[in-house]
């Protein structure tokens, strides 16, 4: 049996989903599309049934991919739980009526029931039940109120198969609202005052800067805390194990591959470059804490409803670089990891926008893995070193965007989106989302780091690195002002940017060289995982275009930076 969770966006569907299902959630694409479906299992009586979280939609007209998928899912599902925002009954009922026209049992959940009371909205849900002729249950997904009752009524849901034309639906809704809903005048709550302040430009822009600043501050704080009190002690107690292994292996190929080079006779996690030393330490102790902190903060920003406000505030700027406000989402996600960033460009409607967004993200947005390493390398130079890297990347982002917007024909569609009220994030769905993201980081990043470290070691042994170093020496040494040995790091950048930055450490580069290397590493090529995703999302032709832009821009900017810094 398949149960479909359907409803408008921002109706608390994911909190609902978390409540109903267990830990084992699978995210997959609907076959042949880029629309994501979350699937989980739920116990119904003695049976284990499948629950599918269908993407939020406003109606069943197949104009967007999500709506097309929703229509197809309706044919596969056995029952629909229609999650309705009780504080926005009128608009939500449109989808409800369309669902009732299909040949599938429907049960309606009036979610955010607690909010209706604060807002002076009174809904006679029993009357609504009589009119719709399907079970209607008031719920508060965050606290779990009403969920049990809803589940107990799943069996009494029957298909309605009523018929309406588009016009008739709104007329019907008008009548229903008149009968079941009464609204009393209410005063503005402090949260609503904040809602208005954060969307008006004069107060909203400072607020946005404050929110973003606090977010990055929290990421750093949480990340550093985790490293200091959890991961560094963990790896300190692991050190005797690798030292013992190192002595056991003795000098030779086994030690070189698994432990790596000894620095002053000891294992050095950041420099040894062995599978069991650097290969574990970089992804787990240096990068994972920041990835965790980043996704925690991003999850709160997403679930509180702040992002649509930010998108509206920056919409005018984003239009100048060929996208609309919502494109801020792939950019923010890209700061965590470029892979989900690239995937989220799907929320943009046109191919042109997706191309611009993907290119800008891949070229100028360093992922958290890379940021963690760049902070490690340049952190001691303070704002002088880090500031130049990030300011350069920002300029590259703006200039590339302006050029692409002019160079590519066509225009950007206008913004038309809902800005939902602020809501307290639900811990359950927040943690579930965080866990899914961490899991995908671990399963995709760690193998690539291992592979990368292994390949680097093999390339060193075979002498290929030296050969490539000599070949590209003119470009790397003359244009970028980096030593020949940095070529190995640039090659590594194809696989993992964090390990690549780590490889710069033993080279004893000057601050200026580190700045140039960091910028070039960010810009010149997306890491292999991002590359694969971009290939799927953009297709070969656009990806080649995008990659050529990146390589050209990387060496141009790297060369310029080298010249300017050494004036």
């Amino acid at each position: 049996m398949k149960i479909l969770l359907m409803g408008n966006p921002n109706v608390g569907k994911s909190a609902f989903f978390s409540r109903l299902t267990g830990v084992n959630v699978i995210v997959s694409n609907y076959p042949g599309t880029t629309v994501e479906l979350k699937k989980g299992k739920m116990k119904l009586g003695k049976k284990l049934v499948e629950v599918i979280d269908v993407p939020g939609i406003y109606n069943l007209e197949p104009t967007t991919k999500a709506e097309e998928v929703a229509l197809k899912m309706l044919k596969e599902g056995d029952l629909v739980i229609n999650v309705v925002d009780a504080t926005n009954l009128e608009r939500n009922l449109y989808l409800t009526l369309q669902l009732l026209e299909k040949n599938i049992p429907v049960i309606v959940a009036l979610n955010f029931w607690d909010e209706t009371k604060h807002q002076g909205i009174h809904i006679d849900y029993r009357k609504l039940e009589k009119i719709l002729k399907v079970p209607v249950v008031p719920t508060v997904a965050i606290t779990g109120e009403g969920i049990k009752k809803l589940v107990s009524q799943l069996n009494s849901a029957r298909p309605r198969r009523c018929k309406n034309t588009d016009k008739e639906r709104w007329i019907k809704i008008g009548k229903i609202i008149k009968e079941v809903q009464k609204i009393k005048h209410k005063h503005h709550t402090p949260l609503e005052v904040l809602e208005e302040l954060s969307i008006k430009p004069l107060t909203g822009l400072p607020f946005a800067i404050f929110v973003l600043f606090m977010s990055f501050f929290s990421v750093r704080f949480v990340g550093e805390y985790l490293i200091k009190y959890i991961f560094d002690p963990l790896f300190a107690s692991y050190l005797p194990v690798v030292t013992w292994l190192s002595n056991l292996f003795g000098p030779g190929i086994l030690r070189d591959i698994f432990i790596g080079t000894l620095i002053n006779g000891n294992v050095d996690y950041t420099q040894s470059m062995g599978l069991l030393t650097t290969g574990l330490y970089v992804p787990i102790a240096m990068v994972l804490p920041y990835v965790f902190a980043f996704y925690l903060v991003l999850g709160i920003l997403e679930d509180s409803g702040y992002l649509p406000r930010l998108a509206t505030l920056v919409d005018n700027i984003m239009h100048k670089v060929g996208m609309h406000g919502l494109a801020i989402v792939p950019m923010l996600l890209g700061l965590g990891c470029n892979v989900p960033g690239a995937l989220s460009t799907r929320i943009l409607e046109t191919r042109r926008q997706r191309f611009i967004a993907s290119t800008l993200m891949a070229i100028a947005i360093p992922c958290m893995a890379q940021t963690a390493m760049v902070f490690g390398l340049l952190g001691r130079y303070g704002i002088k070193g880090l500031g130049i890297v990030y300011a350069t990347l920002f300029v590259v982002w703006v200039v590339t965007g302006l050029i692409l917007n002019k160079a590519i024909g066509g225009s950007t569609p206008e913004t038309f989106m809902e800005i939902p009220p602020y809501r307290l994030p639900y811990l359950g769905s927040l943690m579930k989302k965080l866990w899914m993201r961490i899991r995908s980081f671990l399963t995709s990043a760690v193998p690539y780091v291992f592979l990368g470290v292994l390949i680097v070691n093999l390339l060193y042994f075979s002498g290929i690195i030296t050969l490539l170093g000599n070949l590209s020496a003119p470009l790397v040494v003359k244009v970028l002002g980096l030593p020949k040995e940095a070529v190995a790091a640039l090659l590594m950048g194809f696989l993992r940017k964090d390990v690549a930055v780590g490889m710069l450490l033993p080279l004893n580069l000057t601050m200026n060289q580190l700045i140039v290397a960091s910028v070039v590493l960010t810009m010149y090529f997306p890491c292999i995982a991002t590359f694969v995703v971009l290939f799927r999302e953009l297709g070969a032709k656009d990806l080649i275009k995008s990659t050529l832009i990146m390589i050209f821009a990387a060496f141009l900017v790297g060369g310029l930076l080298n010249m300017i810094l050494n004036l």
């Binding site: 504080t87 926005n88 608009r91 509206t312 005018n316 239009h319 609309h324 206008e414 939902p420």
Partner: protein
Amino acid sequence: METSLIDLRCGIKAVIKRLEGGAVFQKKLESLNVRIGKEIKKVTKQPFNGPVVIEIDNTKVAIGREMASRIFVEEE
């Protein structure tokens, strides 16, 4: 008096009277309950040709300038 959503002053309540555009345009607006006869309040207008933000029932909607210029309302 009928004015476009752009000319309506911020903080003022009004009723949607006319939508200038074809069926696709109207259908798109309808998905967020922007329909003839609905009462709305203009919340703000972003500078440099940014979107107009209106309040409709219990939610807010951001609408690009060009679209907003084709939505006509009458003050209450």
